[in-house]
Amino acid sequence: MVMTDKQLAERSITYRKKILKYIVGAKAGHTGGSLSCIDILNVLYNEVLNVGPQNFTSPDRDIYIQSKGHCVEALYVVLADKGFFPESDLETLCKYKSHYIGHPTKKVHGVEQNTGALGHGLPIAAGTALAAKMDKKNYRVFTLLGDGELPEGSNWEAALTAAHYKLDNLCAIIDNNKLQITGTNAEVCNTDPIDAKFESFGWAVRHVDGNDVNALKEVLCSMPFEKGKPSLVIAHTIKGKGVSFMENSVKWHHGVPDKDQYETAIAELDMEMANV
């Protein structure tokens, strides 16, 4: 289904409401990060990736690997919407014996790799992209990293490999919301300038407003940014985006809203929907 810009923007708001609903139901979740990255997932799955339940076993499908596995609620909500599984499954999120655990698992239809430990997505994505090159296949590999996981050394090892093998079928997206569990990235371990670092490693880098679906669509549909180079998208996002009292607040990293906070949040999102 081809969506209009308005429909795409509305879809993000619907996803945000569902993220909150299932986090409240599970009494657990990574609220702030799921809200910051949901626009990226919306655009990837609805506008960019050639993947869905109908071709998930095809060796030619595009691959998405979520390195920031803790924001699994965003992924599950989008996968349900794409028809990988009934949305009602998410009522079991984090419940005893549920397959829908608090980090991505291949037991859930549509999930490519089990992730959750940070610094793992980029090496696996690089290997998958390398396989495509070796097999002369046209599929592309996307991976979403949190900015807080950049100090993991394995990311930089993989950044070297991706450039060394000229993996221009690989796109890494950094959900750059500038906050992590302890505080700001700058306070915890300053990784700026991210762009210059990756450029010096041999990547083609673009910045984008990571909460603007149209801007995301334009950038993500134009990879590779440079032939022969892996692409990096630094998506500037707002942690807790869409709910005023959650935005840019560390305490919502894995905070779960109470009943009143949930109702307030949903009311805000409904109002935003009316104004799209």
Binding site: P59, Q113, H120, P123, I124, G127, A131, M134, D135
Partner: protein, 321 residues
């Protein structure tokens, strides 16, 4: 049971050489086989592989975490992937990648630990892997194999290619004699090979300690002690059926491994036996809980009694208690 090959003839090559030659032969017929290395082509004996099949060798450089992560990605995309790196670095530095990216995600990477155990000898403890069985035994969804001779190595590599599962295969650099000319029993992961049969004591050894164990049996027969020697090439899954049968048939069990006495083959056997009401003499031989004495692999083996004389003496001591 075939004849045990005379122990004074080193009629074999290093298992490492046999691994690379076997893999090259198989990869030449199967373009989907890929080797991933961490600047370890020389010690992994993969120089010829790189020259003959350059499109099937991925060089990562010295970055073991990335080596395993990239290998997991390649394997998930259908490549028959062998990640080759010194055992000491592969199973310590990249342990989280082995646990999550290979085993938990069920990406069928064949992890090849080269120059394993104390093969690097006097290079010291940074280069020894005396922990690998222990740490990998606790991780779900991995087969752990230490072939003893060239036959077992060849068969293990062939099986590893066929079997699309996470697997750890470790071996060393020393030329290894053929243990027996009996190949009728074949080779199967999870099934120990009885190399020699005797009713008094069973020695269960693995990897490069099987040969000195076999030599010790020749010494023990002179003392009137008849020994069964098993090459327990697969540490996990352990051949419980064989071990429990030998526990019944013989009067004592000694395990021998090029690994810490903590957490390896010996403790795996002990756990199995204790939970099956075993009450006969039992001894674990390996490297004690210390950073080893300086020396070559042979000197280190001798120092800790992992030699024909040392194992024979340990058996005698055990039977006298």
């Amino acid at each position: 049971m075939g004849a045990v090959i005379e122990n004074n003839t080193i009629n074999g090559k290093p298992n490492q050489d046999v691994f690379s030659a076997t893999l090259l032969e198989l990869a030449d017929k199967d373009r989907n086989i890929v080797v991933v290395t961490s600047d370890s082509r020389g010690s992994g004996k993969l120089v010829a592989f790189g020259q003959q099949l350059p499109g099937q060798l991925v060089e990562i450089g010295i970055a073991e975490q990335n080596l395993v992560g990239v290998a997991a990605g390649l394997a998930s995309a259908g490549k028959r992937t062998f990640a080759v790196s010194p055992a000491c670095f592969l199973t310590a530095r990249a342990l989280e990648q082995i646990k999550n990216d290979v085993c938990y995600s069920d990406n069928p990477v064949r992890l090849i630990g080269i120059s394993a155990g104390v093969s690097y000898g006097a290079l010291g403890s940074t280069h020894h892997s005396l922990h690998d069985f222990a740490v990998l035994r606790t991780i779900n969804n991995i087969i752990i194999v230490a072939p003893a001779d060239n036959f077992e190595t060849t068969e293990a590599v062939k099986l590893a290619v066929k079997l699309n599962k996470p697997l750890y295969l470790r071996f060393g650099k020393k030329a290894m004699p053929l243990l027996t000319d009996d190949k009728q029993n074949g080779f199967e992961f999870g099934k120990g090979r009885v190399i020699r049969k005797g009713s008094d004591v069973t020695i269960i050894a693995t990897g490069e300690t099987v040969y000195p164990a076999l030599q010790s049996a020749e010494k023990l027969i002179q003392q009137g002690i008849n020994t069964t020697v098993v090459s327990m090439h697969t540490i996990k899954p352990l051949d419980a059926e064989l071990i429990l049968q030998l526990a019944k048939d013989t009067g004592a069990i000694v395990t021998v491994e090029e690994h810490s006495v903590n957490g390896g083959l010996g403790e795996a056997c002990a756990s199995l036996l204790l939970q099956n009401k075993y009450n006969k003499p039992f001894k674990i031989m390996g490297i004690p809980d210390e950073y080893t004495v300086t020396g070559s692999q042979t000197e280190i083996f001798d120092h800790y009694g992992l030699s024909a004389d040392g194992i024979a003496q340990a058996v005698l001591n055990l039977l006298q208690t």
